[in-house]
């Protein structure tokens, strides 16, 4: 699931997004990419909500990854030390493909079996 955040993100908006995430949370191992390329402002309520989402997703063996991080978002994440908590990628595509790589690794080990059969 790709979640694109707008220029200004406050707690209320973040909670709206969090409700949208609930559907994804029904799945096993939810994979969520948050696009921060447009973000200029994000407050502490929104960051808390993002953390909560990360915890919920982690409890279901999934992951939240941040991609396309704007300089403003990068500064806020660094300021709040969240850069140490989240996996961050320069682009959304890289964030998304990091999931594929993670899934491919066990898949490539099992690949010879069907071929032999």
């Amino acid at each position: 699931m790709l979640l694109k955040l707008p220029e200004r993100v406050d707690g209320r908006l973040a909670r709206t997004f969090a409700r949208e995430l609930n559907r994804e949370l029904m799945n096993d191992r939810p994979r969520i990419v948050v696009d921060l390329s447009q973000v200029k402002q994000i407050d502490s309520d929104a960051l808390n909500t993002l953390l909560d989402c990360m915890v919920e997703v982690a409890n279901r063996d999934g992951a939240v990854k941040l991609g396309g991080i704007s300089p403003e978002a990068a500064t806020i994440l660094e300021l709040t030390r969240m850069d140490r908590v989240f996996e961050m990628f320069p682009t959304v595509a890289e964030a998304a493909s990091s999931f594929s790589v993670a899934r491919l690794e066990p898949a490539t080990e099992q690949a010879p079996e069907p071929a032999a059969a």
Binding site: Q41, D45, L51, T75, I76, L79, V85
Partner: protein, 356 residues
């Protein structure tokens, strides 16, 4: 020699457009288009306890300049203190009416020399030597010149302006062609961008310019202003400056030649590295403030060259009473609304409120 000085505080780009016919446009060639820092002119921000403007005024007085007027290019006139020269017309609005008013008043009071200083760049000039050179060379107009370029610093023979039938500006412009150059080699900082401001603070802390911190050097390279408090578990690494009535709370780290100016509060477990924290700033709990200039509810990150408006007083705010009250109320409210322990365990110290 009876000397009157006009100190002009440079405005932003908007002001440059408006004041296109300024004599300095032709005179000064060294970074004559400075930016603002977090919404205010560089000259008005404190550098280790005192603003660049006040430091310049002090220097002028030390070097024997009799009267000083301060005019902002933004159109506001600031007559700088009761002990300084104060023209009768304080109502002049706009740069040029104010400038004309001051020049006229100086001439009417028999000033022999006018010293025009634009801040602009921070320049450590020996004003007495500059004025002596101007007097001895009998020039109508003398301009200070550094290896980096011509400075926005000129001395004008008042008689030349007094005798003119043209406007003062027109006469000044006509005099420029015959100016004498005064060469000097002192410290100069362009103050053209926030990185220059940061460099000025670093140079001051390392003793590489004439700026001395306002306060006491309690350990080698660590200066404290009056009433500054550093809690026992906080760590301050030299060189560093903690301004008057500022409070560095427990488990904080101040490092990387950082300056925390007066009346700031650095809340628990926050680290400040390679930063200028401008007066009256509150830094929330557990933050990592690095390579930045912070103040007036804004943060300028020097590495990324981005300015952030911080609308969240729990992260960065003001130490003024009303904001502090709001922050405390929000923190209390936040503590009442249930926060899950799971989240709390993720980050060891919750940093978005005093009681979270």
């Amino acid at each position: 020699m009876y000397v009157g000085a006009i100190v002009t505080i440079a405005g932003g780009a908007r002001c440059e457009e408006r004041s296109g016919s300024l004599p300095r446009k032709r005179l000064g060639s060294y970074h004559s288009a400075p930016q603002r820092l977090l919404g205010s002119p560089f000259a008005t921000w404190d550098v280790l306890g005192e603003s660049i403007l006040d430091r310049t005024l002090d220097r002028l007085r030390v070097f024997g300049v009799d009267h000083v007027s301060v005019i902002s290019e933004d159109g506001f006139c600031h007559w700088s203190g009761s002990d300084l020269f104060m023209p009768p017309s304080r109502a002049a609005s706009g740069f040029w009416p104010a400038w004309d008013s001051v020049v006229s008043h100086y001439l009417n009071h028999n000033m022999e020399t006018l010293l025009l200083v634009r801040l602009g760049p921070y320049v450590e000039l020996d004003y007495s030597d500059f004025l002596r050179f101007h007097r001895e060379s009998a020039a109508a107009l003398t301009q200070a010149n550094h290896a980096l370029g011509a400075m926005d610093l000129i001395a004008v023979d008042a008689k030349q302006l007094r005798d003119t039938k043209d406007s003062f500006r027109a006469r000044l412009s006509a005099m420029i062609a015959d100016r004498r150059e005064y060469r000097f080699t002192g410290y100069v900082n362009a103050l053209a961008d926030p990185a220059d401001f940061r460099r000025l603070v670093q140079d001051a802390l390392h003793g590489q310019c004439g700026i001395r911190p306002v306060g006491n050097e309690v350990e080698p390279g660590i200066w404290l202003g009056d009433g500054a408090r550093i809690e026992r578990t906080a760590n301050v690494l030299a060189p560093a400056y903690i301004g008057a009535n500022s409070w560095v709370r427990s488990s904080c780290t101040i490092s990387g030649a950082s300056a925390v100016e007066k009346q700031c509060e650095v809340d628990c477990a926050t680290s400040v590295d390679d930063c200028c924290i401008l007066p009256g700033t509150y830094l929330g709990m557990g933050l990592n403030v690095s390579n930045a200039i912070v103040g007036a509810g804004k943060l300028f990150h020097l590495g990324r060259e981005v300015e952030l408006e911080m609308n969240d007083g729990r992260l960065i705010g003001s130490t003024s009473g009303s904001q502090r009250l709001t922050r405390t109320a929000r923190a209390l409210f936040g503590s009442m609304s249930t926060r899950r322990s799971q989240t709390a365990s993720l980050v060891t110290a919750r940093r978005f409120g005093h009681f979270n």
